[in-house]
């Protein structure tokens, strides 16, 4: 997967060639800026007696003339540092703070040295992001390449470990980030996905040979704003807006959601915001200092405020929760009571389509449900013939 001299090498000898223009760029930088270069362990400076150069792995060299300096930069133990500097400072640059931070994260740059990373690139460095995996590899002259595929497809193409649903030949290859829009719009049954972070992203595709910008752009299509929010959180700047503030901000038809009782908000979070429903990690709480008891999940990127789906659903629940309870009398056998519970469980867990047609041992089986309806519903669809609203009301 990598182009590290064509064969696997150890950390110490991971080899990469330096291009003259990369060195030109480095010299230009030393000329245009009086400060020395201090980057990921590379120290390079223009000093009175020529040039100085050092890395954690090499001794310090000083007083080099330009030819010697150029030559030294191409040495095997320095090439990784030079190409690494070039990629981060000349290619990626510092515009796009969140993009840069994510790409640094994707190769463990916050924690690992250049030689460690260059060695690890051999197998590709993987970052899980929602349901997808970003794999960073090394291209020519230290250029990074990124690949994005569904987590179910990470082993596709690896003949020794082909456990996924797809092999490399059947993955549909893309290279334009905007093509991720179509992929993320429908689930595997062709149903619209209004929530991009729902765990229902289709598999069977791969984005290959992306540069850093396109890699982050692809993630931003699959999981909008996730990279920005992840980095803001990492840098301690995530602007979490809790339930109360979100509810109070609403106007128009959503104005009512601030009337939802606190325990109702707990149920909203349990219904909508757990990992089985949404891969964002819920960081918003009922209010600042007033945490919800439901688990926020373990996603890679945070959810910083109740989303529009939650607000729209909460509007419905606010209205429903305004109703008073009423005591009904139903005639049910113990098994029928359990069957109703089984049906609710199956719908809530999205298992209805998994229940086999003839599996009459499942309470939520279609025939079982039809039998119950035939037996217990009257012509108006009332359970046990009990009207929803009593005659007086």
């Amino acid at each position: 997967m990598t182009d590290v001299g064509g064969e696997q090498r150890s950390a110490e000898t991971a080899q990469v060639a330096v291009r003259e223009e990369q060195i030109d760029e480095l010299l230009d930088r030393l000329e245009s800026d009086a400060d020395p270069i201090e980057f990921d362990g590379l120290h390079a400076a223009a000093i009175e007696s020529g040039y100085a150069l050092s890395t954690p792995d090499s001794g310090e060299q000083t007083g080099l003339d330009e030819a010697a300096f150029r030559s030294a930069l191409k040495e095997s133990d320095l090439a990784a540092y030079v190409t690494n500097w070039y990629y981060w400072e000349a290619v990626v640059g510092h515009r796009g703070r969140h993009r840069r931070a994510f790409l640094r994260h994707a190769e463990g740059a916050h924690h690992h040295s250049v030689p460690e990373r260059y060695a690890a690139f051999g197998d590709g460095m993987h970052t899980e992001w929602g349901e997808v995996v970003v794999t960073a590899t090394l291209g020519a002259n230290g250029e990074r390449q990124y690949q994005i595929r569904h987590g179910d497809d990470v082993d596709a193409g690896d003949n020794d470990a082909d456990t996924g649903d797809h092999d490399a030949d059947t993955l549909v290859a893309y290279d334009d980030p905007l093509e991720a829009r179509e992929l993320s719009t429908y689930d595997e049954r062709g149903r619209y996905r209004p929530l991009k972070s729902a765990p229902s992203l289709v598999s069977g595709w791969v984005f290959e040979n992306l540069d850093g910008r396109d890699a982050v752009e692809t993630l931003d299509v699959l999981y909008p704003a996730s990279v920005a929010n992840w980095n803001l959180e990492r840098e301690g700047e995530l602007d979490v807006t809790h339930w109360r503030e979100t509810a109070e901000r609403q106007t128009g038809i959503y104005d009512v959601v601030e009337d939802l009782p606190r325990e109702g908000v707990e149920w909203v979070a349990e219904a909508c915001c757990v990992d089985s429903q949404c891969l964002k990690r819920r960081e918003w709480q009922y209010d600042d200092g007033d945490e919800l008891t439901v688990d926020g999940g373990s996603g890679a990127f945070p959810c910083r405020e109740p989303c529009s789906l939650v607000v729209a659903a909460a509007r419905k629940w606010t209205k429903l929760e305004a109703e008073e309870t009423h005591t009904y009398e139903f005639e049910l056998t113990p098994s029928e009571k359990e069957q109703i519970e089984a049906i609710i469980e199956a719908v809530a867990d999205g298992r209805v389509d998994d229940i086999r047609e003839a599996d009459v041992y499942e309470g939520a089986n279609r025939y079982r449900a039809r039998f119950l309806r035939a037996k217990r519903f009257d012509e108006e669809g009332n359970l046990s013939g009990t009207p929803t609203h009593s005659e007086e009301s």
Partner: protein, 303 residues
Amino acid sequence: MQALVIVAHGSHLNPDSSAPTHRHADTIRATGAFDEVKTGFWKEEPSLREVLRTVESEEVYVVPLFISEGYFTEQVIPRELRLSGWDVSEWESDGLSADTATLSAEDTDQTVHYCGPVGTHEAMTDVLVRRAETVTGDPDVGEGFGLAVVGHGTERNENSAKAIEYHAERVREMDRFDEVQALYMDEEPEVDDVTDYFESEDVVVVPLFIADGFHTQEDIPEDMGLTDDYRTGYDVPAEVEGHRIWYAGAVGTEGLMADVILERVADAGAEIKSAIAAVREATRKADSNPEKDAEGETQAAGD
């Protein structure tokens, strides 16, 4: 570094609602006039609350893909984008003349040029006419034809009717169609009675909506008598009471809408003349071979 952010309603239920927004963004992106072109939605992602943080540029033009000035353009969008110090008086609008206001986004510190909605821009009139050309397949359509511009009406938003009247009058002034009439869904003159308002045998009906959906695909075709049941489809043109009704569907699906978005940005001070020319050329070619596909719909105010 300058970016364009197109903001639209979107839908939790219907993927076609945001489809035109994405397509117009793609058209504009292809011109290369902006470093970034992004979309943000009230009901989809990225949300209006978070779209600006996905933009790296410090200067951002925000264009609302909405038909009229009102609840969304005056309250929801500025609030959700966190435009510091926004007040609707910044636009000094009479309900049709909102152009641009320059503000700062509280959470990102970006400079935001907040533009008026596409629906009230004068260039929108050209899109209505283009839509008529597209649906009839005749680039010179006009003579012998009537044109109806259809809107919601004033029930939800009085500016909605203003925009309809404005464009109907502008088309009328072109002296291109034999007759031009504004019609409404929920008030007189009603779209149900479309044939009562035209003498011309051929009538092009263009709803001034951003995307196709419930109103434009179900209500209006049934109300006009194009079909008894929208699910069975309808002919274009369809014979109704001695008239041929050329029903165009939502004007917002027309490729030339991308031009109106750019006009808004140009009015806000961006130098994008060549992009405007490129988009006009690209959409003219594209629209000569229209896709008869379904798009999303606009939602009621307050939704």
